[in-house]
Amino acid sequence: MNAFPGRTARAEQGWFKAHKWLLLRRASQLGILVLFLAGPLAGIWIVTGNLSASMTLEVLPLTDPLLLAQSMLSGAWPVMSGLIGALIVLVFYALVGGRVFCAWVCPVNLVTDLAAWLGRRLDIRASGRIPRDARYWLLGLVLLFPLATGVIAWEYLNPVSIAHRGLIFGMGWGWTLLLAVLLYDLFVVRRGWCGHLCPVGAFYGLIGVKPAVRVAAAGRERCDDCMDCFAICPEPQVIKPALKGAAQGIGPLIADMHCTNCGRCIDVCGKNVFGFTLAYRRAGLGLSEPVGDGASAVAATRHPVSSQPGG
């Protein structure tokens, strides 16, 4: 494992360019937290509620569609603002990429990114292996609970909502759950939570199967196989088809729905291989939807560890 992925990018393009998307992402994550916290801490009420459901400036409702689905499966019928809020969230993430939530909004990402960073720096090899499709099993379980028991059981354990609600309304023992996620990611399975288990991420991934915003390895002919992108990527299996699929006619678009659009591959690449693309511009760049799109997604889930980076 490369302890310092992005070293060449840093040397050639400067620190800021090599951290551009990371800085933007952190600004987004923290900015959203600040919007929620400005009310309770400073009395500036811009957004109330939390990620489960919120109200912005008393006009814009936003609702977590997965939570609302669980609520409805338990037999409740939401009010209009709840439904509209969920619809807005669905449409937004369908456009920008479902897992943009994971990389740009979710507070647990700060914890799991820290675990990944510590793992690289301290050379801790979390060697546990679980299939990356375990999250879909969990998602099924999460939806089955309210249907079978009438209780949103997942909310007793969900680190995403417990972390965000905890930061805004009081953490209680919630920090132990985040510590557990950190230690699990660091010592048991690398990227174990966000990349293998989290049913919230799985759900958002399913929303954004064909988003308008995607990363493409447009300059893949320049790739010098430094492996930095694989080392930094939270879902490294998504890169391989796009970066190395030229011979099979796959790519260069990263079409896998597990890609979180975090942009770290763009940051760490010293050869400017990667970049964000918009759907309507893809034709112009010669980045048509790859033929092997569906096949590569299936391959990624059926052979979850096959494209893990070498040590």
């Binding site: 009310g39 009420w45 109330t48 509620g49 939390n50 489960s52 459901a53 919120s54 109200m55 409702p61 609702t63 977590d64 939570l67 609302l68 669980q70 609520s71 338990s74 037999g75 409740a76 019928w77 939401p78 009010v79 603002s81 709840g82 809020g85 679980i130 299939p131 499709d133 375990a134 099993w137 969990l138 379980l141 089955l144 609970f145 309210p146 028991t149 009438g150 209780v151 949103i152 059981a153 997942w154 909310e155 007793y156 354990l157 909502s161 417990i162 609600r165 905890g166 805004i168 309304f169 009081g170 953490m171 209680g172 023992w173 919630g174 132990t176 759950l177 059926r302």
Partner: protein
């Protein structure tokens, strides 16, 4: 050996695939079992925690509420809490503690309006119809009204004043000459807002809001109160009432209102059987 088998064909691929699926299924199943058992225990609401107005029955509430905290934020009196992980109240759900701050019963019920899921039922439009719990004067030994002292704080702070709590004037047997004004809660008017418990002047409140299912008794369904049945039917439903016959002195009747034996009033005759002139009595046939 495994490499040899992997090369040899598809059977093992299938076997490996099934094994890996089973492994995942078992792992997720175990997690689900743990989570299910934990959630069964964790969904019980302790009696000291009261849900906001309009909350669905507890079982339905735990399915409908998405733990967003919008009701907490929209409460103008800031008296709702969201349960933290590790508290006795189901994680992330809203509640209040009556002794700390009761519900102020806003006319427009902003907490209900804020709820995106109907966990706080939007059908509740009149706050007086709210059913957060039921106040119970649970400790008559320490309530000073039962000692014959004047307090009546719970009666006076009650937002449904004079209806949900009334004062029952009783004889004070201790002094023998005073009254005591005992607060009585009426379950059909009490909303469970908790203002009485909040205001109770004791160190520990003698009047407490309890979940209705803990506070209320229920008469057996087979019970019939005879006098109500009779009133509804307009008469006795079983053997017709036989008119009671008294063996009274002639010209007398019995009044049940407290006057007892009184002279019968016959129209056209004087009210008293004893005429003004004593000779008339003496001359009456059979009088002696």
């Amino acid at each position: 050996m495994s490499t040899e088998r992997q090369k040899s064909g598809k059977t093992l691929d299938r076997r490996q695939f099934i094994a890996s699926v089973m492994k995942t299924a078992c792992g997720v199943g175990l997690l689900g079992l743990g989570l299910g058992l934990y959630s069964q225990g964790a969904t019980s609401l302790p009696a000291w925690a009261i849900r906001p107005p309009g909350a669905l029955p507890e079982d339905d509430f735990n399915g409908a509420c998405i733990r967003c905290g919008l009701c907490v934020r929209d409460c103008p009196f800031d008296m709702l809490h969201l349960a933290k992980l590790g508290e006795e109240v189901p994680t992330g759900t809203p509640y209040f503690i009556a002794r700390e701050a009761g519900c102020e019963m806003c006319e427009d019920i902003p907490c209900v309006s804020a709820c995106p899921t109907n966990a706080l039922d939007h059908a509740l439009t009149d706050i007086r119809e709210a059913d957060m719990g039921l106040a119970v004067l649970i400790d008559q030994e320490s309530c000073i009204a039962f000692q014959g002292l004047r307090c009546e704080v719970c009666f006076n702070v009650c937002p449904v004043r004079g209806e949900a709590i009334t004062l029952d004037m009783q004889h004070n047997a201790r002094s023998g000459k005073h009254a005591r004004f005992v607060p009585v809660v009426h379950s059909e008017h009490c909303t469970g807002c908790g203002k009485c418990e909040e205001a109770c002047i004791l160190d520990v409140a003698a009047i407490k809001v309890l979940p209705r299912h803990l506070a209320k008794g229920q008469l057996g369904a087979h019970y019939r109160l005879g006098w109500e049945q009779k009133r509804e039917a307009g008469g006795a439903l079983v053997t017709p009432d036989a008119e009671h016959r008294y063996n009274l002195p002639e010209g007398m009747e019995y009044e049940h209102g407290g006057r007892g034996l009184i002279p019968e009033v016959v129209p056209g005759q004087p009210a008293s059987p004893v005429p003004d002139n004593p000779l008339d009595v003496l001359n009456r046939k059979g009088a002696l």
